[in-house]
């Protein structure tokens, strides 16, 4: 299987689906000649022309509103937010229109659209270009939230997102664009709502998404040398959340640590822990469930501060050891 980058996987998913389905088009800022702020749409303007690679003014509310409108009348738009932080400028069309149209209209409308958005810190872009806001999106009935961690998942999940009949927020951690992974050449799709066990283990379950999957896998490698066997579960889709797979894993390991880059207060770790506590897996817990999250701060600019603001491999290792050694 050829190895491609996460960026390429997302690019390929869009290009292949646009070749297959004339209803699919992309709109966003600087996505044409510039190729998108992170280069994801490079070359698409040349292949599909300005009719289907629609370069917009800096008007996020209108971009997402237009995507919703086009979706309601039969198109399959992909709207690109240059940074996830800018989704706040477009929450009204996303939350008050796209997410609700189907329900408000008694099931008689569909809004098949994807909003792609680069999230996360680590690029030195500071507080307004580094947030992980998936929890806010997860809170809205009618929206699906997808956050892939590997090139394989990114392509397969984006294909499914483009074919889904609902508004899907597709969260791409910006530090992942450069990572490489195996992706089949033939067409495939990964169903939304299915978690993936990225590493099997016996002693503790780590639930992590996006870049935190990789940090958790690195931590698992280190912990393995201590004889601690870590299972890493990547929900891949945050809404709907695959509670079954997570709960099953916790039943097996007896311990749950949720790791996310988003800030702690009202972050989705709480949702995972609450969901597990509602299942029979609760009875199998050997130690209190814990979460390791971004600190409750805006992302700072300074490199050391930025690193300190979100969980790192060492933090995960330390937390797992404490949990396994019954320090809580």
């Amino acid at each position: 299987m050829p190895e491609i980058t996460y960026r390429q996987a997302i690019h390929d998913a869009m290009v292949e689906e646009m070749r297959r389905d004339k209803r699919v088009f992309i709109m966003g800022e600087d996505i044409g000649t510039y190729g998108g702020a992170f280069g994801v749409s490079a070359g698409m303007l040349e292949e599909f022309g300005p009719e289907r690679v629609v370069e917009t003014p800096i008007s996020e509310e209108a971009i997402v509103g237009a995507a919703a409108g086009a979706a309601m009348v039969g198109m399959r738009p992909i709207a690109e937010m240059m940074f996830m932080d800018f989704i706040f400028l477009a929450l009204d069309p996303l939350v008050n229109q796209a997410a609700k149209a189907r329900y408000m209209f008694g099931g008689k409308a569909t809004v098949p659209m994807v909003v792609r958005m680069p999230s996360g810190s680590g690029s030195g872009a500071a507080a307004q270009h580094s947030q992980s806001l998936e929890t806010i999106l997860m809170h809205i009935p009618g929206i699906k939230v997808v956050a892939p961690s590997t090139p394989y998942d990114a392509k397969g999940l984006l294909i499914s997102s483009m074919r889904d009949l609902n508004p899907v927020c597709f969260v791409e951690h910006k530090l992942l664009y450069k990572i490489k992974g195996e992706v089949p050449e033939e067409e495939y799709a990964i169903p939304l709502g299915l978690a993936d066990i990225k590493r099997e283990g016996r002693d503790i379950t780590i639930v992590a998404s996006g870049i935190m999957v990789h940090k958790s896998l690195d931590a698992a490698e280190i912990l393995n040398e201590d004889g601690i066997s870590v299972e890493v579960v990547d929900p891949r889709t945050l809404r709907p959340l695959d509670v079954d797979t997570i709960a099953k894993s916790v039943k097996k390991t007896g311990r749950l640590l949720v790791v996310h880059e988003a800030v702690k207060t009202a972050g989705w770790a709480g949702e995972v822990m609450a969901s597990v506590s509602e299942t029979s897996s609760w009875d199998y817990l050997d130690t209190p469930m814990r979460r390791l999250t971004g600190k409750d701060v805006p992302i700072p600019y300074n490199r050391h501060l930025e690193t300190a603001a979100v969980p790192q491999v060492d933090d995960i290792v330390r937390e797992v050891r404490a949990m396994v050694n019954n320090q809580y």
Binding site: E61, M72, M75, Q97, A101, G107, L165, N166
Partner: protein, 342 residues
């Protein structure tokens, strides 16, 4: 009448209805139909108000009595294939676009047989299959969505037009300029119809707007704009026809601002503290239905007997709609989580 807007209307006041309708290519039958639709809207709203007082309508609603000419003049121009994106005060436009009054009334009463199975209510009535993309509870909501509808029409290469109707209040939302800008740079087949009824809830438009009439803001985007008397149904028809023809012939977006007035308060909680009874009475002297009716009588298009019959017929239609709604089942509580996702 308060004169917020010093600009002169672009239309000439309709005085000779026969000459005017000949110019516009409207038959006498069409004129009568238009009158009849105006009556049905007024009666529908008066009934809705009564049903609310009786406690049958849950929540709130936004009545448009006084604005019927905008709805009917516009509805007479639009084709069934055109898309409609409406605002929260949208009953008149739906009726004028040919919507089933029974299903509307059922939606008011929150019934399963309503347009939205009782999930939407007055503020969210939609009929997507019939290209009606809904009333909207967000001021300016349609202005967001219409850009994509215009894009879709262009991509699909159809002859359709997207009509978005919004109030003066929405013209002060940021999306107003985002939307007009995009429509202009991409030459989208969009008709922007600003139904200026003088107040955004309680806010007098002159007090909260840097520049009126709003059509000047369209002109600033290079979009042709017309400022018309929205209480003159044939003027609305005339300029909406110009606008729709413009958009349909792929000349890009176009803007019409129709000045009108609502008699009822903004919503059911409104006690009209921000305007005087005299002002409301002055506008009632320019009532769009009365004006049209007297022109029709003067030109002998209809007689007093015809008018009486139309009132009787429309009253019966509304009563039947209430009966249909009353006899319709409530949605089943066990289905409350249906329709969140497709």
């Amino acid at each position: 009448m308060k004169n917020n807007q010093l600009a002169k209307f672009d239309n000439e006041t309709t005085t000779d209805i026969l000459a005017k309708s000949k110019d516009l290519g409207l038959s006498k039958e069409t004129l009568i139909e238009m009158y009849q639709t105006m009556i049905s809207i007024r009666l529908f709203e008066e009934m809705a108000d009564r049903l609310y007082a009786l406690g049958k309508v849950h929540g709130t609603m936004h009545l448009s009595a006084g604005q019927e000419a905008v709805a009917v003049g516009t509805g007479a121009v639009m084709s069934k294939d055109d898309y409609l994106l409406n605002h929260h005060r949208g009953h008149g436009h739906f009726i004028a676009s040919g919507a089933d009054i029974n299903k509307m009334m059922a939606e008011f009463l929150g019934k399963e047989t309503g347009f939205c199975r009782g999930r939407g209510g007055s503020m969210h009535i939609a009929d997507v299959e019939a290209n009606n993309l809904g009333a909207n509870g967000i001021v300016g909501g349609g202005i967001q969505l219409v850009v994509g509808v215009g894009l879709a029409i262009k991509m699909m290469g159809t002859e359709r037009v997207a009509l978005v109707i919004f109030g003066d209040g929405a013209a002060n939302q940021g999306i107003f300029h985002e939307s007009l800008n995009m429509a202009a740079i991409w030459d989208l087949p969009i008709v922007y119809l600003c139904e200026n009824n003088q107040y955004g809830m309680s806010a007098d438009i002159a007090r909260v707007s840097s520049k009126v009439p709003f059509k000047d803001r369209a002109l600033a985007h290079g979009i042709p704009g017309y400022y018309i008397d929205g209480n003159d149904v044939l003027a609305v028809y005339e300029f909406m026809k110009i606008a729709v023809d413009h958009a349909r012939s792929r000349k890009g977006p176009v803007f019409v601002e129709a000045q009108t007035y609502r008699y009822f308060g903004h919503s059911k909680s409104d006690r009209n503290l921000y305007r005087t009874k005299d002002e409301i009475e002055e506008w009632k002297n320019r009532d769009p239905i009365k004006r049209f009716q007297s022109l029709l009588i003067e030109a002998k298009v209809i007689t007093d007997t015809d008018i009486e019959k139309i009132h009787e017929d429309m009253t019966r239609l509304i009563d039947e709609a209430v009966e249909f709604a009353d006899n319709s089942p409530e949605p089943d509580a066990s289905e409350v989580t249906e329709w969140v996702y497709a």
